[in-house]
Point group: D2
Chain length 263, copies 4
């Protein structure tokens, strides 16, 4: 293939009277005919989703949208308070926390499930090996455990039930459940399969590459962040936030003695 | 109203076994039952959309998602090339261009339509006044004109036709068309009603406040940016981009003479 | 001038063995010979600062760097907690709050001083007119007032004294003081000249265009944000921050009754 | 230590008439008395730099500020064109590319030097081992190689000479040079010690922890980005940038045939 051909984009083309997305006419084939979720799947992955795939992506996006006053929502609200004319900055600030400690769980959990389902030793043996290895090295098992939801994360059962009712292959969900039993056995107690793991498993089921799974979570969060910024614009919480943080985090000077508060 | 009541959030609440979004149980009522678009509308605006409203939001989101190698897509790809481990940063960088010169058109056009439909002089007189005032001051009419699409933006007719087939009130669409006639008369030539204006009109029709309309565009763009970053990860264009920019934009030294290029 | 000549950059040029910034050799003339502040001034404004100008920029940058647990610092820390591998995202999130409500004060105050010093009516009459107009319309005077520092902001006197000791023209500082008297007279009480106003006045004194003044503040803040992120990496405050915010901002359901807290 | 004491900040404290940064009075001790670079070092690291340390940090910051139309500068300019009212967004977008592929080199190179200088086998044996291991696994040696500057990066010699003239210990610089010889021997050709490696070595010499070294680079870049955005505001290049990218990166449809260009 010539150099000219190697550098190209497949995503979009416009002429005077026509816009084409991946070869499909935007106006006659897409607007009014497909949902946001179908369009997103098509634009990112290059094929139209089946009905089951669309409902699974919808379920994942609905699950991850709104988490209340989470770090990303607070960051977006604080940013909005300084730059209310730049809504895009507030949404961007909120998204920037979507890294390894937050959305990384979804990815590393999905990566582990993808590994288990192709392990030559079989899923059960592989799951036992992973669980015991995590136990031995006192490492967290990606996708297991949750600070609040115990003994189970209510979203996980809902997501797994939905996916099964839609007849997806089920391999990754099954691997996740086998891993769960192995984890409980290895750690000697029940650990929650959290919603990140469940969302990762569902995206794996429909062939979303792990490398881009985080992208689906970011799109979902962006909608939740808009909701938080809009609430902030109508009924700001950031002044009580600042006061609460100031009270919770005192200043301590270099001589080790706490200073007085704002006089 | 007491202090406790004034500082609060209505968005989300969690207990050990339950997550509630605006009073509705996430697991039993939302996951698997509503689409992303319905959930987004509900989370931001606090009410469930009708079927017509959902289809209109979907149409707007589908329209704004993918624009090819636009500034936001190039910014996201360049950012990804420097920080491939931080997908969230690439998406955020792309969104940050969504300001007055880009998404501002949608907002200012929607604001103008909202003003026209309540003008005591009637829409026609108000539209004529606005068009003539823009003409007299050589100001762009928000939502009119497009660098490529002529004589009409193919998305506008599609969006207006869809909205009408869904039986929305139609006031803002009508105001937009009346304004278009007034603009053509005042400027003595036909100016395109661009897709930003059409999207703004549709969001007005279903009661999305102008102040948050930009948020819908940002969510849509975030999906398109994920598509661009994913394509970049598989088949990078940024090196030819850098070379093309370097060729197109020479260095000129303080003495006014162009310097040689990279030797 | 030909089209080719109109599209160019004056900032930087590299060859195999040489890097030139605005025509000056980086290695032989700049590295080790100029400070960060001199280099920044030169790169942005295209001329080498005098000693007095450098000291004034340094004073402004030193003043604006560190404000404790301000919104930008909290946003950066929250972002870091979700994406500790992407320091650049935390710094970017913190900067994004640097908009109209925060750094806008510096800009609008500088813009007002620039206007006063050239007013044909003279500074005193112009200042009186501005102050009375703000009073009549119950508008804040840009750069006046501070939530904590009363009766005066300690940074303002320090900055003005320094600038005078360095022999800058003094026109903008004088205009600021004349405006202060006019404001006190119009409002019938003493209002603080805050540090934003003082920094804006100093940047005006040395000819920094108002349009780019915000850039100096952003560079200074970026250093403060690195300090906050580094402290966060060693001794995280975000968990107590989240708890404090959760306690300060209760959830209230759609029926108006507060929900219980995390059980 | 009690819970109250563990959650605190050491950075800043304000009272009605006083602002203290790390226990030092901002107005009487810092403004007008220390440079930006000294203040930054003090705020981040908690101790005042020596004169030599200040000059080394200045040299690193001056080196990294301006790289012409690099990806970060183009991203900032593109972002500015969409949101000219939000300078902070353009700077943030530019910084977001400062990840593993860009600033990561400085960090990984510094990490390697830190490892070499404490290797029980001695620096020479350790350097030989590292170089041969990279050669055997066809891995890039962090900090070695440059696309344009050959046979040597002019900044490296300048930085090393400066640091030596300032009498810093020199251990990391020496380790870098020993590694360079080992690399040349292992690879059978001369590889450039690039400026990232040199900057990393200098920051190591003065005790800047590797984990925060990227922060110094980000602060420096933020100043360069302001310069680019300011140039863009006066003489935009983004339209020719968009055209150049569009020409360099054609659309290819799903059937593999290139589409026509904008008619």
């Amino acid at each position: 293939m010539s150099e000219t051909r190697r550098i190209y984009t497949e995503l979009c083309h416009s002429t005077v009277d026509r816009i084409t997305v991946r070869g499909v006419d935007l106006c006659s084939e897409l607007i009014g005919k497909v949902s946001f979720t179908e369009m997103m799947f098509f634009d990112i992955l290059g094929r139209r989703p089946t009905l089951a795939e669309t409902r699974i992506v919808d379920a994942v996006l609905v699950t991850l949208m709104e988490h209340g006053l989470a770090p990303s929502a607070i960051a977006a609200r604080l940013t909005y308070s300084g730059a209310p004319e730049a809504l895009q900055g507030a949404v961007a600030a909120g998204l920037l926390g979507g890294g390894s400690a937050l959305l990384g769980t979804l990815e590393s959990s999905a990566r582990l499930l993808n590994k288990l389902v192709v392990d030559p030793a079989g899923v059960e043996a592989a799951a036992r090996r992973e669980a015991e290895s995590c136990r031995a090295t006192a490492t967290a098992v990606p996708g297991f455990g949750h600070p609040y939801h115990k003994p189970d994360d209510p979203r996980t059962a809902t997501l797994f039930r939905l996916a099964r009712s839609l007849g997806v292959p089920g391999k990754h969900i099954e691997a996740c459940e086998i891993l769960s039993s192995a984890v409980d056995a290895a750690f000697g107690k029940h650990l929650v399969i959290n919603a990140s793991a469940a969302c990762g498993a569902l995206l794996c089921e429909i062939g979303v590459p792990v490398d881009i799974a985080r992208g689906f979570a970011l799109v979902s969060r962006s909608a939740g962040l808009v909701a938080h910024v809009y609430e902030e614009s109508k009924r700001p919480i950031i002044w009580s936030t600042l006061k609460a943080v100031g009270d919770a985090v005192p200043y301590v000077g270099p001589d080790g003695t706490p200073a007085g508060k704002w006089a």
